[in-house]
Structure formats: structure tokens, C-alpha cells
Amino acid sequence: MSINRRKFLAIAGGTLALGVAGKQTLKVFAEAEARKSEGFACKRWAMVVDLKKCHETEGCTKCIEACHSTHNVPHFNNKKDEIKWIWKEKFEHAFIEQENEYIPSDIKNKPALLLCNHCENPPCVNVCPTQATWKRKDGIVMMDWHRCIGCRYCMAACPYSSRSFNWREPRPHIKQLNPDFPTRTRGVVEKCTFCDERLAKGLKPACVEACPNKAMVFGDLEDPNSEIRTMLGTNFSMRRKPELGTQPEIYYII
């Protein structure tokens, strides 16, 4: 059978197109299969912190304790070695851009609850050289501790100090080991991951569950009927350092 040049090109082109299309569909299916979450399905996770409710119990650290004990976060007594996933900071330090001396003193002097903002536009992700930190499709700024080489670029990039570096071996400074979650080692960076391991099983983040005053509301921003959207739609809320364009996903109601 003889085949002319034009026919050959048509057949070759067609086969190539089919091949590419086939591969693309396979890839889409594989991704859909992989992403089929077995826990909560969500489009964009976010959190509202109601500081008025948070302040109802003076000096409460239930959320911090819950988070740090589930994730084996070590406790150091000095600021330099400190590791924190969720912590309290004076309001005027947390919201410095307010530059307002005359806000009510009961807000000014009380602590704000801080954690990783899971920014829509995360500067830490852009600078990570090993993709040890990345943005998941559901908005979580995730950490892969296996890939972290401890270069601390992400810490320099984060405008919210949400990341801590293990300067010292953490294990001896963990009060009670939780065997279900690995610790970290000296030389890696760590931070809050919105409890990805709990979400995968349909549980809410440990801090949200531990709060006695229900001051934290966690949910899907893309669902207009969610509790979090109702809260944001009926209250004035603010975010930390909005002028930087990072689009934090932690909203504060004062």
C-alpha cells in the first residue's frame, strides 16, 4: 500500500491529537480520583475569630493547649526558641496598621488570637525552593515536613510571624507525646495546617472544637449559606495587614 505525503501527515496529526486528548482525560480522572476527599469536601476554608467572645474567659488558653498537644508542639521558656502554631498577642501589636491610639482600652489591651492566615496569595509559598509549602485547592497553606530543608525563606517572607523554626531538638520539650502525630526535628520550619489530618476525617480543627465560648467559626467561604458567610455578612470584620495584598483567610470580629 502506498501512502502519499498529505495522507501521512493527516494520519500522524490525528493520532497525535488523540494521544494528547487521551492523556489529558486520564490525568483529569486521576486527579479527580485523588482529590475525592474522604472527609469534609470544601472549596475555600476560612476562619472567623470573634474577639469579644474570646475575651469572655480571661486568660483562657484552651485552644492553644488543644492545638499544641495534638500536634506535639514543644514548649520552650525563652522567646528565641519558641515554637507556635496558635498564640495570643496584644491587639495593638497584632493590628499595627490601625495606628490608632484611642481605640477602646478593653480592646487595645486585650490579646488577639493569631495563627497562620492561610493567605489567598501566600508569600511563603512563592519563596520556598523545595515546594515543601504550597497552597492546596481548598485554600490550606500546607506543609510537607519531609521536604523542608530549613532554609527559613518562608519565615522571612511571612508578614505575620506564623512560622517557627526548630533551633533545638523538640522532643525533650514536649510534655506528653501524642503518638498519632509525628513530631518535627531540629532544622525544620513548622506552622498551623488548619488541622488537615482532622479535616480528612470529617473533624473540625482542634482549636475550634476546644473553645468553650465558640469564639472561632470554621467553614467554607464559597458556600453562601455557611455559618461563616452569615457571620461575615452580618458583622464588620477585619484582617491583619490587608494593605499587603496577601488576602488572609482569618477574619476578626471585634
Binding site: 485523588a34 472527609g39 492546596r136 510537607d144 519531609h146 498519632d180
Partner: protein, 138 residues
């Protein structure tokens, strides 16, 4: 050539000395040290024993990437159904799955690894359950 005979004898002695460990082993039969991992009394591993021996490190790497990077947590069998451990869906987890059956890391994992002189750094972070038990006893 000068002293061919002496040089040849020298080479022969050198070869004998150099290969003496192998020769002694050949003459003496088996080597005396052997890895002897303590297997669970009953049940079966996730895959066949031969497969696990050869590929458990690769399996763990796949698990790690699936869980951490793709958010796929539960272990499925080849036929697509979930792998059950004590009646609940097993997670692809080093501590929560492997170490449920292979409880004694020292007498199982370490037994082989010490023999081979491999030191998986996983345990710098992942927790050996028998270690936690000891700590609670203290």
C-alpha cells in the same frame, strides 16, 4: 625480567590475604550473624511477604506522598475496597498502621536495619509506639 618467581609468589600471597575473609567464609559455611526479625504471630501483611521485604521502603514513600501531598488518607486494596484494621479503615500511616501489627520496632524493623546498617531517619519525627509506652511507665 628480574626475579619473576619472587614477584609471582608475592602477588599470590597478596591475593590470598586480600580475599581471606571470603575464603574463610567459604570454608566455614554460614556467617554467624543473621537478621532475625520477630514476625507477628498471626495474620498477613499488607502485601505478600516477599513483596514487603523488597518494596516496603517504596511503599512508605508512596504513602507519604499520597497522604501529605494529595490528601488521600485511607489504604485501599487492589480491588478498590478499603483495607480494614481491627474493623476500621486503615490509614496509610507508619505509626498508626505498620506499627499496629509490628509493635516492637526494636525486634522487627531494627533487627534487619541494624544488620544492613541502614538508619531510616523517619523515627526522628515519627513516633515508635513502644517508646511512648515506656515513657508513660516511667
Amino acid at each position: 625480567m628480574y626475579d619473576t618467581g619472587k614477584v609471582l609468589i608475592g602477588i599470590l600471597i597478596f591475593i590470598l590475604l586480600f580475599t581471606s575473609p571470603i575464603l574463610i567464609n567459604l570454608a566455614g559455611g554460614k556467617s554467624s550473624v543473621k537478621a532475625n526479625p520477630q514476625l507477628p504471630q498471626s495474620g498477613k501483611c499488607i502485601e505478600s511477604r516477599e513483596y514487603m521485604k523488597d518494596y516496603h521502603m517504596e511503599m512508605l514513600n508512596t504513602w507519604r506522598d499520597k497522604v501529605v501531598r494529595q490528601d488521600v488518607r485511607f489504604l485501599k486494596k487492589a480491588d478498590g475496597t478499603y483495607f480494614l484494621l481491627n474493623g476500621v479503615k486503615a490509614e496509610m500511616s507508619l505509626t498508626k498502621t505498620c506499627m499496629k501489627c509490628h509493635e516492637n520496632k526494636a525486634k522487627f524493623c531494627d533487627e534487619c536495619h541494624n544488620y544492613l546498617d541502614v538508619k531510616p531517619y523517619c523515627w526522628d519525627c515519627h513516633i515508635d509506639p513502644s517508646l511512648v509506652k515506656k515513657e508513660i511507665m516511667k
